[in-house]
């Protein structure tokens, strides 16, 4: 896994539904891009969860929180390759275009499920602004034989995403 796949970008939105409880949606994005046989290669994984979070304030400004939720994940591998499509070439040259490179992008995708859980501590700098550190994990049921490409089931890469430790640092803003 590359650095950008290990350092994921996360976006979370939550809503407090009870004094000690929030419901939320969270998404982590991991991606890498490279060159494969002179073609643009991109691989991305999205980990999405609707989760339950309970929390309490042991001291003023300090919140401890505990989150758990099922994951619905998608993985995508895309490759942009050069094409030699004569019909497009003829049409473009008819419009007086020259030396236009025709490329084609296709992708293979997979969907897999998992579970995430974490405990965190949040310090409120202001009533509406806090910093948070969380430690937890992501457990996935990734199967490399469950990728699909142009409606066909194909074998994908052997990536170790079954058990991932999760350390998260973030800014929290909201009521």
């Amino acid at each position: 896994m590359s650095f950008t796949e290990k350092m994921m970008i996360n976006f979370t939105t939550t809503c407090q539904v009870y004094f000690n409880t929030r419901l939320g949606f969270s998404q982590w994005m991991a991606f890498t891009s490279d060159s494969y046989n002179n073609a643009d290669f991109k691989r991305s994984f999205s980990y999405r969860t609707f989760y339950l979070e309970t929390f309490y304030f042991p001291w003023k400004r300090v919140e401890l929180n505990f989150m758990i939720g099922p994951l619905i994940n998608t993985g995508t591998i895309s490759l942009t390759t050069a094409q030699s499509t004569e019909v497009w070439g003829d049409l473009l040259s008819e419009f007086e275009n020259e030396n236009i490179d025709i490329t084609h992008t296709d992708e293979m995708t997979t969907t897999f499920f998992g579970l995430t859980s974490a405990v965190g501590i949040r310090y409120y700098l202001k009533p509406l602004l806090g910093v948070e550190f969380q430690i937890g994990f992501i457990e996935n049921s990734y199967d490399k034989k469950d990728w699909s490409f142009q409606d066909k089931t194909v074998t994908g890469p052997d990536i170790d995403v079954d058990e991932m430790p999760l350390y998260s640092v973030g800014l929290v803003y909201g009521l």
Partner: protein
């Protein structure tokens, strides 16, 4: 066209209800925030509250008011959610156990 006319009518009617004359730091929403904390402001009142805070910022004693609102918010947080009760504590203990077990298995290699 009818919808357009109706929209204009709705906007005309609804504006006087949402925008009320505010009196700097002594407005109703700021008084409520000072008394109960910022989190008791309803979401629909929040835009008005932000505007009122902005107006309050122009006053000379705004720092005192802001400090009072912040302190009251922190106090009400502890008062409202100072303890885990009922299912929330069960949930917290389970999650803590999951996380600890995960790292124990990870470290011991089982």
């Amino acid at each position: 066209m009818k919808i357009f006319v109706l929209l204009i009518a709705l906007i005309t009617v609804s504006f006087p209800q949402t925008i009320q004359p505010k009196d700097g730091c002594s407005s109703e929403l700021i008084k409520k925030a000072e008394k109960e904390g910022m989190r008791f402001i309803k979401i629909k009142d929040y835009p008005d509250f932000v505007i009122e805070l902005w107006k309050c910022r122009m006053k000379t004693d705004h720092k005192k008011t802001f400090k009072k609102i912040n302190q009251r918010t922190y106090e009400s947080d502890v008062k409202q959610s100072g303890k885990l009760e009922g299912y929330t504590s069960s949930c917290a203990y389970c999650i803590s156990a999951f996380v600890v077990l995960f790292y124990v298995y990870k470290i011991t290699g089982n």
